[in-house]
Amino acid sequence: MLRVRSPQDLGAGLVFTLIGLAGFYFGTDLTFGTAARMGPGFFPVLLSGLIIAIGLVLALKGVAVEGPPIEPVQLRPISFIVAAILIFGFLIESIGLALTAVLLTIFAAYARPEVKLRETILLGVGLAMFTVLVFVYLLGQALPAWWGR
């Protein structure tokens, strides 16, 4: 049984190898061409090959050489922050900046424990007023301030 000595290196190696394989696989659909007449697939396939090589070396290093452990992943911050971004993206057109700003603030706030809901809503309303004023009315960016425009 192989023992993982450096989880960071092994992880990075696997990610790189996967990216390289994907690049290679989808790159082979493109014409490779010859060196003198490089096709659209030439450089991508070349790069993918190099990425796979680096990935494999790193993965090998991960089982052969001692290294630092991976810091534990905390799901709460990343999932709430990403959710906040996506919610903003999918709602802004229909309900406008003012409301989405409040929603984003609430979602973002739940990325950490001990949320003070009142404070968060106040912050959200404040940010909403500020951003609507500055970005929509002052800078005239193409953002809807309210629903239905």
């Binding site: 960071q8 290196d9 992880g11 990075a12 990610v15 790189f16 990216i19 690049g23 989808f26 493109l30 014409t31 060196a35 003198a36 007449r37 490089m38 096709g39 659209p40 450089f43 991508p44 790069l47 993918s48 190099l50 990425i51 680096i54 990935g55 070396v57 790193l58 290093k61 630092p68 991976i70 810091e71 992943v73 905390q74 911050p77 990343i78 922050i81 990403v82 906040a84 971004i85 996506l86 903003f88 993206g89 802004i92 057109e93 900046l97 700003a101 984003l104 603030t105 973002a108 706030a109 990325a111 950490r112 968060t120 912050l123 959200g124 940010l127 951003t131 970005f135 960016q141 953002l143």
Partner: protein, 502 residues
């Protein structure tokens, strides 16, 4: 020659000094400092977050504002390092060592003032450096052919990788992934789309903004939120007096000059830049000090030297970008991205075809430095108060501005999805010990590298020896090999590790 230099600078100041442009420079400096001073946010995320604001402006104004943001962000970073010991980026770690020690002794004002004055002097020298060395370098760049450019990019990427901290192998991997990501979209040569998976938003390639904001801005927020205690300033230091005493001046002016000289030179090197310069200067000051044991306990030279060096290098690292079109570090890659969005392809052509733009930008760097000095120094009190705003109130605001910035530039949901994807991607890679900076360098150079490789091989009818037959290219590749050999040598490797440990 000298006459040219003055005349060129005059052109620059003529273009840059207008009521409007000075306003943008000021605004840039203020915003840059405002974000840069927030604990845990270094210059790269700051610039990434503020990029969208500059898009609506005309090219020169936008570059001027961007330069202001850059200097502001750097200065803001020094302020946080000194006052609360939270370095925003690797380069400021050095400032933390003695700067924060000074703050603890109640000499925060002196440290901040010396940092600002040293930076200003270094900025002035750096500006003259660009004015003096820009044109000759651009003239050399005119001799460059595709193979030379390709080799230059190889050299630049290799040095950038070596000077990055962390594992060299991982940095190489990140550069390559960046290069590959840079190729997504329509291939200019064949008109075919690559790696777009039928998503029409990707036909023009991956947008720069969601990529950098996702990788730097959002990941930064997530990382801060993972800390058990949110970054929170604890300063016992009081701002007794802002101005350094005569003793401080006499102790630091030599360090400022040395740092400026060192930084100016290190900034030009491909792969060099502010971070390297700060480290090198700190090491130098410690080496030549009569009493090295004072360092780390509030030696003013330990602030003056690195702060001057990093600003000088911040200035001169524009030289390879503006003359050769080669960004030497991630910040320059951001600048290049912004220029491309403005329709300017950085390189020697900018200087000949748009002298007002080139010299205007050079002049604006100096103006930016001056603004920092005359406006930010008196405002330190306000920045300090900003530091005491709790992070739980700050990060939703930062996130909202990031998101509006991305969405506001082209009102497309796909960009936000992309940003979220890169945030997750960057987060995972960071967990595996991979820094995102080399990826951005690769990303911005991807299409250029491919194009130059293609052209080189067309000229040589497919013979890769062309890279060794052309003298410029051969020299550049020889330099690359020499550097690679150096890092493989165990002795150098140890020095490098020690340098990053400090």
């Amino acid at each position: 020659m000298e006459f040219d230099l003055l005349q060129n600078l005059a052109t620059g100041f003529g273009a840059a000094v207008s009521f409007k442009n000075l306003g943008f420079a000021l605004l840039g400096c203020l915003l840059g400092t405002l974000i840069g001073v927030l604990p845990g946010i270094g210059p790269i995320p700051t610039i990434a977050m503020l990029l969208p604001i500059t898009f609506g402006l005309e090219p020169l104004s936008s570059l001027i504002m961007l330069a202001g943001i850059y200097y502001g962000a750097q200065y803001g970073g020094s302020t946080t390092s000194i006052l609360v010991n939270i370095p925003g980026e690797a380069g400021s770690i050095v400032t933390c060592l003695d700067g924060h020690a000074m703050a603890k002794q109640g000499r925060a004002g002196a440290a901040l003032a010396v940092a600002a004055l040293g930076s200003f002097l270094a900025g002035c020298v750096g500006t003259v450096f660009i004015a003096a060395f820009g044109p000759p370098l651009a003239a050399i760049a005119q001799e460059f052919n595709s193979p030379d450019y390709f080799s230059l990019m190889v050299l630049g990427l290799v040095t950038a990788v070596i000077l990055a901290h962390g594992s060299v192998l991982k940095a190489v991997g990140m550069v390559l992934v960046g290069l590959l990501l840079g190729l997504v979209g329509t291939d200019v040569n064949s008109g075919l789309t690559r790696y777009t998976f039928g998503v029409s938003e990707l036909w023009d390639g991956i947008d720069f903004l969601p990529l950098v904001i996702g990788l730097f801005g959002i990941v930064e927020i997530i990382r801060n939120l993972e800390q058990p205690t949110l970054p929170r300033p604890q300063f016992s230091a009081k701002m007794r007096d802002l101005w350094p005493g005569a003793k401080d001046f006499s102790e630091s002016w030599r360090a400022v000059l040395r740092g400026t000289a060192l930084g100016s030179i290190l900034g030009i090197l491909p792969g060099g830049g502010a971070v390297l310069a700060a480290f090198a200067s700190y090491t130098l000051e410690k080496k030549i000090a009569k009493d090295p044991s004072r360092f780390g306990k509030g030696a003013i030279e330990g602030v003056a030297g690195p702060e001057s060096a990093n600003n000088a290098a911040a200035q001169t690292s524009f030289i390879p970008l503006l003359t050769l079109g080669l960004p030497s570090n991630a910040i320059m890659a951001l600048m290049m991205g912004a220029m491309i969005i403005q329709g300017i392809q950085p390189g020697s052509a900018v200087m000949t075809k748009r002298p007002d733009l080139f010299w205007g930008m050079v002049a604006s760097m100096w103006i930016g430095n001056l603004m920092l000095l005359v406006i930010n120094l008196p405002l330190i009190g306000i920045w300090v108060r900003l530091l005491s705003v709790p992070y739980r109130l700050l990060y939703p605001a930062i996130l909202l501005f990031c998101v509006i910035g991305i969405y506001g530039t082209n009102t497309n949901i796909a960009q936000l999805v992309l940003c979220a994807v890169f945030a997750v991607f960057g987060y995972i890679l960071l967990r595996f010990g991979c820094e995102p900076a080399p990826l951005v360098l690769g990303f911005i150079l991807g299409p250029l590298m491919e194009e130059n490789l293609r052209r080189s091989l067309v000229i040589s009818r497919g013979d890769p020896m062309v890279f060794l037959e052309r003298p410029i290219s051969a020299v550049l590749l020889a330099a690359t090999v020499a550097i690679v050999v150096l890092i493989v040598l165990p002795q150098f490797r140890r020095t490098r590790e020690e340098a990053f440990q400090e």
